[in-house]
Symmetry: D2
Subunit: 290 residues, 4 copies
């Protein structure tokens, strides 16, 4: 299978179940919302490396898309199911840090169709007493309970309860390119395509190089017995993503793969797996793109 000059390797991305929380941060302007989102989603590129959460910025939210009608940014976060407690703790901290950013509000933006469990983070961590010393009040917005905290600038508002989507997943593809600039350009274009799929976010920066996969490191090509680096390929880069459901992930992988294939210098598009032995999901590239 080829898209333009690019060979789509007949393989699959092995993927794991993740629990996903999706929020929208709104503010007086997109600019402030984005500043808040960078803080909210930062230092979160890989819990395997040690970040306390995995997170990514999906896209800007238009005023008409948000609960309070102001500009915003969608941010998603995820952790493996057995680390839900750690994820919720980190979300609590990041909500508290968001209280510093003027005009910011935080709302649940979970994908409606995805199954999940609602957790009242505000009550679970006793945020009212622990952080706000009881100065907060409650407000209802579209039937959902908000915590309202008076601040020097105005107020800080956040939703009390968030749906933890329990059937989330990671996803990725591998871009094999002639050069570093081609690899970066291609995966950057792929990341742009992702913004069309609500509920799927890049993990961290999204464009992900890997150290551990020695058989995919071109400079070790001659030193590794079963190197997987094809002739002519000098740079390999992944797009690493996660989303609220396998169906959304399949959509996301399809559009992002197609975008990557348009960039000159891309030779193959593939994926990594362990034979399907460990992960719950398998996203077969040929099925996604047919």
């Amino acid at each position: 299978m080829k898209i333009k000059n690019v060979t789509i390797i007949d393989t699959f991305a092995e993927a794991w179940t993740l629990e996903v929380v999706r929020v929208v941060l709104t503010a007086t302007s997109t600019e402030v919302a984005l500043g808040g989102a960078h803080q909210f989603a930062g230092a979160a590129g890989s819990s395997m490396i040690g970040s306390r959460i995995n997170a990514g910025i999906e896209r800007a939210a238009l005023p008409q898309e948000t609960p309070d009608g102001r500009p915003g940014v969608f941010v998603s976060m995820a952790m493996p199911p057995d680390q839900r407690e750690a994820m919720l703790e980190e979300i609590e901290l990041r909500i508290a840090l968001a209280s510093l950013v003027p005009t910011i509000a935080v709302f649940d933006a979970a994908v409606e169709a995805a199954p999940g469990e609602t957790v009242n983070i505000h009550d679970k961590f006793s945020i009212s007493s622990e952080r706000w010393e009881g100065y907060d009040t409650e407000r209802e917005l579209a039937g959902r309970k908000q915590c309202v905290l008076p601040t020097t600038t105005g107020e800080f508002v956040y939703e009390k309860a968030y749906k933890v989507c329990t059937n989330g997943t990671d996803g990725h593809f591998v871009c094999f390119a002639e050069s570093e600039t081609a690899a970066v350009t291609a995966v950057a274009a792929a990341k742009e395509a992702l913004t069309a799929v609500d509920g799927v976010a890049p993990m961290g920066y999204g464009l992900e190089q890997v150290f551990r996969e020695f058989d995919y490191i071109p400079s070790l090509r001659d030193k590794i017995a079963d190197s997987k680096v094809p002739d002519g390929v000098n740079s390999i880069l992944n797009l690493l993503m996660f989303g609220a459901s396998p169906e959304l992930m399949r959509q996301a992988m399809a559009v992002s793969l197609r975008a990557a294939a348009q960039v000159p210098g891309v030779m193959y598009l593939g994926a990594m797996n362990f034979g399907g032995e460990f992960g719950k999901h398998q996203y077969h590239l040929h099925q996604l793109l047919k």
Copy 2:
């Protein structure tokens, strides 16, 4: 003292000693460097609230300003002196997370004139064995030792040793405005002015609203006995910064105060203090601006 229509309150900002580490992240493009910087400096708005480090993005670094001649971004980080160990651990984690971003390199960019102690973070945390399994090599660049790690995209490079500036400081001012939009616009302009002072960064997003200072919360004006909210003021917002030395902080506060004063709707510029009882430094606004 007035700047345009704005009254500069005759007061001072009380400030504390901080230890500061400053890095430059370079990459194939400013765009990628900035993506890496957002990850590097995220979730770091306030160690008092619970972030494991305080950090901020200073500005873009031009290719000719960086050790490897590529576009970059300056990022500073800080913690109180008694939390140096925690700061270094968090920096180590963030360097490891930076390894995910293609083409990124991390270099020490400490302000030369500021006193400090060099710490070899690479050796201190045995990063070579703990994270890279010994696959890294060493390279010298301009007399400084770099760790070089082969990756799927190319290589990940970072400096092994960083100077911890021991005479750093925080700083801030308080903007008293007629409205929320005026407050945000004014402190945003002030934050722009900061970029001229190398070695000073906003803390987190920089524009900082406060919850705990009840006497500065306009909506509680009638409920607090000694409210400090002047008549006509409806929104109060701080610019919170930190830098490598008190001298740099004085420069930074001067330029940022002047920028804030230009925005219509700003009524007063002031600062918060505890009478000078706790912090080592006092930045007197009238002295800064005369």
Copy 3:
């Protein structure tokens, strides 16, 4: 009628028929496409003041939305019907200027449902001989004819024919605010909302202050007999837009008005008209927002 604290004046925006051409500029990255779009749509804020065309940038185009699957930017242009020849000449010039930007391609992106007439700009202006000295070739993409020009970087591609939508229209609303910062913040949020309506673009920067409307100038409030500046209002700013059809314009005005109404400091939202005597269209605010 009120939205939050904002009074929606019971009035209408008088509007004129415009002919509209909509293109998408694609490139190797969104960043380059946007650079090309700024050049393509610049110096085009008002043909009444003297720009040779009216133009505006709508939004980024995702790779999967464009004819060649690469990232892009949607740009719209317009002139009154009696100035079609001038509009087409200016479009021809701007296509020629686009040939300077590496990897840029220009495609027709006219709104399908809007009525119009197709004009082969390439043939009309003999671009092949006049500009390319016959070095161009033709390529078909999705049934549409493209001109392909070899360049030093690769190739420059543009569509030969464009649909001129003949039932286009301008549109606007007037934001009456307490302050300049509130006015700018509100209309900026309104402009964000516009991006949801494909086929409607801001005219020039979109946030439009006016000189000629003396009865709307707050600083002349006491000098003008029938000043229309309400008490408490100190700054008035319009969002000026244009689009491919009145139906799209009504959608655009509705979403942008609602977004503006969320910003604190906005007191009234209204519109300007000449009693409906001159323009073909009337967009009644209360009808749009009910």
Copy 4:
């Protein structure tokens, strides 16, 4: 001569005298100033192709750098000396178009050291009567006369007189790369480096591909007798610039060449000339970089 793996061809860029006008647009925020700058500098990539002026955006101006202490953006414009009248007319139009952007002000920002002649554009084109119907007033700022026009949002301010620098020049270099992505990435990095040289701006987008130079078009390599496309090179891209003096141009070319040389995939850096027969200046690459 080599920089890293890149061969610097021993050649020179032939350049012509240009007259240059440099302005700074200030506004309530960098964001609005940049929007105004895109309008001010748009559709201006090449007067040879037909744009009525050549222009480029240099960089953001910090509040402390501008005459009114607000954030801004530096924009430069140029035309050959024999087209000064056309240039001034186009500047007058672009100033008038700037009056639409709320909070924008326009000031002369000519490089002090460069020789030139001051032209009072306001008087020359009778802007007061022709455009403002006499409603403008005059204000002095730092000894320079400003025109002040009351508007619906506040006021529009612009400097009346501008220095036309008479010893300006264009400049460029040619980047020969293995691939399109390498060429674009390299010249983009080069353009970043330019921002350090006040008084030099990219011409239009700056990254400039060329159609007319058939001997530099890789896809015509086999068809052109004396093709200048070296083996291994598949994409060629220029950085086209202009500035207020030859000295500034030499600085600009040096820093931008060095930045381009850092990008993998760049093979040669060179320049175009006609043997020095036509242009007044010759910028020899080896002299610039030694």
